[in-house]
C-alpha cells in the first residue's frame, strides 16, 4: 500500500522541500517582474572579487580529482552497508562480526593498493 505509516514521518521534510522550492522559484519570478534591466557588457561580465577574470571558470580539472571522487564513492558504499549491519548486530552476533571483518578487509586491500600506488598523494 502506498503512503502508509512510515511516510507520515517524512511530512516535515516534504514541507521543507515545498517551502524551499516556493521560496527559490518565487524569488526569481518576483525579481524578474520587479527589476529594472539596464545591461552593459561591464555589468554582465563575471564578478571575481574585483579583479579581472582570467579565463572561463569551466576549465579542465586534473585527472587526480577523479581518483579522489572514485575513492569517495567506494567508501561511501561501504559505510552504507554498515548501517543495516549496525541495526541488526544484536541478533546476528559473532557471525555478523566476522562477516563484516571480511567485508572491510577487502576494502582495506583496495585502500592499501591506492596508497601504495600514490593515489592519495597530491604532488
Amino acid at each position: 500500500m502506498i503512503g502508509s505509516a512510515t511516510s507520515i514521518n517524512y511530512i516535515p521534510i516534504f514541507i521543507f522541500i515545498v517551502i524551499s522550492l516556493v521560496f527559490g522559484i518565487g524569488t526569481l519570478v518576483i525579481s524578474y517582474f520587479v527589476q529594472v534591466r539596464i545591461d552593459d557588457p561591464e555589468k554582465l561580465s563575471t564578478y571575481e572579487c574585483g579583479s579581472e577574470p582570467i579565463s572561463d571558470a569551466r576549465n579542465p580539472f586534473p585527472a587526480r580529482y577523479y581518483i579522489i571522487a572514485m575513492l569517495f564513492v567506494i567508501f561511501d558504499v561501504e559505510v552504507a552497508f554498515l548501517y543495516p549491519w549496525a541495526v541488526v548486530f544484536d541478533k546476528i552476533g559473532l557471525f555478523g562480526l566476522i562477516e563484516m571483518i571480511v567485508f572491510i578487509a577487502l576494502f582495506l586491500v583496495a585502500y592499501v593498493y591506492a596508497w601504495k600506488k600514490g593515489g592519495l598523494e597530491w604532488d
Binding site: M1, I2, G3, S4, A5, T6, S7, Y10, F14, E52, I54, S55, D56, R58, N59, P60, F61, A63, R64, Y65, Y66, I67, A69, M70, L71, F72, V73, I74, D76, V77, E78, A80, F81, Y83, P84, W85, V87, V88, K91, I92, G96, E99, V102, F103, I104, L106, F107, V109, A110, Y113, A114, K117, G118, G119, E121, D123
Partner: protein
Amino acid sequence: MTAQLLFFYFGGMAVAGAVVAVFTPNLVYSALSLLMTFIHIAGIYILLNAEFIAAVQIIVYAGAILVTYVFVLMLFNPEQEKRYFHKQYKIGAFLGAVVLFLMVFAGFKTEILSKGGPFTVEYVEEIGHTRAIGNALFTDFIFPFEIASFILLVAMFGAIILAGRGIKKPKGPGGRVDLSSRRKAKEAIVGER
C-alpha cells in the same frame, strides 16, 4: 489520494529531470538536473516505505556518484559538447525502444505483485525497514554481500589503473611542479587580453 498526488509529483519531477538531463546542451546543467531526478526517486522510495533505500539513494547517488559525474565532466573540456544529436542517434533510439518494450513486457508478464513474499508491508512496518534489510542481507544473502565488496575492490583497481598512469612522480627537485612556469603561463593569458 494524497499519496497518489505525491507519487505523481515525485515521478513527474524525476522524469522531467531526466528529460532535461538528456536534452540540455550544457553538460553541467545536465548533471544538476540528474541530481533532481535522484532526489525525487528518493521521494518515491519513501512513499514505498523503503526508508533505508531512500537514504542510500541520497547519500550514494546524489552525494557520491553525481560528484564523480561532475568530476568526469570537468576532466574533459565542457565547452566542446554543443551538438544535440549524436550521429548514431538512430541506433540509440532503436535500442532504447527495444529495451523499453522489453521492460514493459516483463512488467506485465511477471507475477511479482500477485505472489507476495515473506516481506509484506505489515512485516516491514512492524520491525522497521533497515532492520528487515539487515536481517535478509546478513543471513540469507551473505555471499552477494561479500561479492559486493569484491566488485567495489575491482572498481577501485580499475580507477587507479586507468586514471593513475604516471601518478608517481620521481622524487627530488625534478618531481615538484615548477611554480614560476605556472605563473608565467598565467601572465601570458592575462597579456593576451
